[in-house]
């Protein structure tokens, strides 16, 4: 099995990319008032209390940082896009040390049940190893595989399979074992 090796220069580039990306995400929606309810007749900004606006909230982690990475068919190595997301996750976990996480590995339905359990475990582990390589303590992370038991999308086409081949980092309060 091979785990992703990332050159330092590439990481630097990716981290920069991530910053830009996250900024765009953060201000592109609620803050700039593209939401119909955001700008009322008085011209005063009014936002619903969205927990995702709090950078230290799990909702922010889930929606703004991105809680999942996707995998190619039969692959468990983290893609370039995936590393950007995982760098964000690692930064967030570093800044929010009171959280631990369970990484759920999933497969699409194109495979036998048992092989897909093993494949999902491989994917979850690839994410765990990457996060550890980015400075997250291993004892804050656990992995679980769901194989093809919990697809996100139910169509039997590549458009759905691509979203189902995923590893999702699920936060929990408190330190893991």
């Amino acid at each position: 099995m091979t785990f992703p090796f990332v050159k330092p220069a590439l990481i630097a580039a990716l981290v920069l990319g991530l910053t830009a990306c996250t900024d765009a995400g953060r201000f592109g929606k609620g803050g700039s008032g593209d939401d119909a309810a955001a700008l009322n007749a008085t011209g005063i900004d009014q936002n619903a209390l969205d927990p995702a606006n709090d950078p230290n909230s799990p909702a922010y982690f889930q929606q703004k940082v991105g809680d999942r990475v996707l995998f190619a068919v039969d692959q468990s190595s983290v893609s370039v896009d995936g590393r950007v997301t995982l760098d964000g996750q690692a930064n967030w976990l570093t800044q929010n040390p009171s959280y631990s996480a369970i990484i759920e590995g999933h497969a699409d339905e194109q495979g036998t049940r048992e092989y897909n359990l093993a494949l999902g475990a491989r994917r979850a582990n690839a994410v765990q190893e990457y996060l550890i390589s980015r400075g997250v303590a291993g004892n804050r992370l656990r992995t679980v595989t769901y194989g093809k038991e919990r697809p996100l999308e139910v169509c039997s086409e590549e458009a759905c399979y691509a979203k189902n081949r995923r590893a999702v980092t699920v936060l929990s309060a408190g330190l893991g074992s």
């Binding site: 039969d74 036998t112 048992e114 092989y115 093993a118 491989r122 139910v154």
Partner: protein, 441 residues
């Protein structure tokens, strides 16, 4: 025996001979030879009710026996409307001419009585109509009233066995996963039923994901994978008491794909740690022994019937393929070399064949091959077929078939090892991951 199986793979055919026979081999015989299959016409008149309490059972048992026989695809039942002769007494001579006239090659007669304390007794005889003789001796079986279906299955097993020369499989059970809900929020629970879908009983609730149950060699326990702890772990369930316990709980590991050794004590399974899945075995009161040590995925282990070898699935070559290794571990030899991905190998109870799932060009197949990998034969093809399990006689395979898309439901199917007689097994809700029990005692 190997030759018989070899030709069985080629095709099924009927040969109704009239030669004198030795021992239990009768002249009326379904032989496995090359040729076209023509189901053997059999008459199963309603059994004689020897007392009033047996009236319903006498009819129902004959129906179950006829359904067992015709369900194999090897027999065709002759409708009662065609009967010239009626069986009015179990011991009266058979009017062979009347049964010949409607081309009933085999005739099953029986009588049922129910005693005051609720015991059912069934007697039966099997006749070779054209040879005008009994095929084997008459037999009497008894059991409690609520075991009447089992008694009927045992009669059908005798009939099947006497005509085919092979072991029966009707008096057996199937444990499987009963499913409800949409594909992305599936509810799963273990269920057990007779091989034909009757007498269904749920063994777990659907509060947690359960997967891939497997019977012990005596059918008293079931190994399965449960997420009860939040992580997939092999559990064992006592079928009688429905008590469950976790098999082996090493922290930081996930375990799945369990299967009993033929000794009923040793369990072989996959254990995942640090992203790597290998095969381990566990003896009661001992710690797990690692059987494979490879950075690739090793899973789906299955013992040979003599317990000396294990066939399993590994992607060490880059894609999943089938391998055989000694039961104590050691250098495996690859046996699958065809195009595509091979998984879930299961050793036939007869020892001669390995059933597997094959994924090729976007389709899934259930197939069989000899234990050296030769004579691969695909029995089915669909969007998703997987997880074969053997009938106790090694003649029939049951598996999961899943439809595509949001509405695609899993269902249990069975197929002959010749690839004939593909049938859906009736379950009250969608079902997956069947595992056949041994023949019940």
């Amino acid at each position: 025996m190997k030759q018989v199986i070899k030709s069985m793979l080629a095709a099924l055919a009927l040969t109704v001979g009239a030669m004198p026979v030795l021992a239990q081999d009768g002249p009326l015989r379904i032989e496995i030879t090359e040729g076209v299959i023509e189901p053997l016409p059999v008459a199963v008149p309603n059994f004689i009710a020897e007392n009033d309490a047996a009236a319903d059972l006498a009819r129902q048992m004959a129906d179950v026996i006829a359904a067992d026989l015709t369900g194999t695809g090897l027999f065709r039942e002759i409708s009662e409307d065609a009967f010239i002769s009626r069986i009015t007494s179990f011991d009266s001579p058979v009017a062979y001419a009347d049964w010949k006239a409607i081309n009933a090659q085999a005739l099953v007669t029986g009588a049922v009585s129910v005693s005051g304390d609720g015991r059912v007794t069934v007697k039966f005889r099997l006749f070779d109509v054209f040879a005008e003789t009994d095929l084997g001796e008459g037999l009497q079986l008894a059991g409690s009233t609520n075991s009447w279906r089992r008694l009927a299955h045992k009669v059908a097993d005798q009939v099947y066995s006497r005509i085919t020369g092979e072991g029966g499989y009707f008096d057996s059970r199937v444990v499987f996963v009963s499913e409800d809900g949409p594909k992305n929020a599936r509810l799963k629970r273990l269920a057990v039923m007779d091989y034909d879908g009757a007498n269904l009983q749920y063994l777990t609730d659907s509060s947690t994901i359960v997967l891939a149950p497997r019977f012990s060699p005596t059918g008293d326990r079931v190994l399965y994978t449960s997420y009860a702890t939040g992580f997939p772990k092999v559990h064992v369930l006592d079928v009688g008491t429905v008590q469950t316990r976790i098999l082996d709980d090493q922290p930081g590991t996930m375990t799945f794909a369990p299967r009993f050794a033929p000794n009923g004590q040793t369990v072989v399974f996959s254990l995942e740690q640090g992203g790597n899945t290998d095969i381990y075995s566990l003896n009661p009161g001992s710690t797990a022994t690692r059987l494979t040590s490879s950075p690739s995925i090793e899973t789906a282990p299955s013992y040979s019937p003599d317990g000396s070898q294990i066939v399993f699935e590994s992607d060490r070559s880059g894609a999943p393929q089938l391998y055989i290794m000694p039961a104590t571990g050691g250098e495996p030899r690859r046996i699958s070399f065809g195009e595509g991905r091979y998984g879930t190998p299961v050793w036939s109870p007869r020892g001669d064949l390995i059933a597997f799932t094959k994924q090729s060009q976007g389709r899934f197949h259930i197939g069989v091959m000899r234990t050296d990998g030769s004579e691969e034969r695909l029995l089915t093809a669909s969007f998703l077929d997987e997880g074969p399990t053997w009938a106790p006689n090694g003649r029939v395979i049951m598996f999961t078939r899943v439809g595509s898309g949001a509405g695609g439901q899993p269902a249990l199917y069975s197929v002959d090892i010749s690839g004939r007689n593909l049938r859906r097994v009736t379950t009250p809700s969608p079902g997956s991951d069947p595992a056949w029990s041994p023949l019940l005692p």
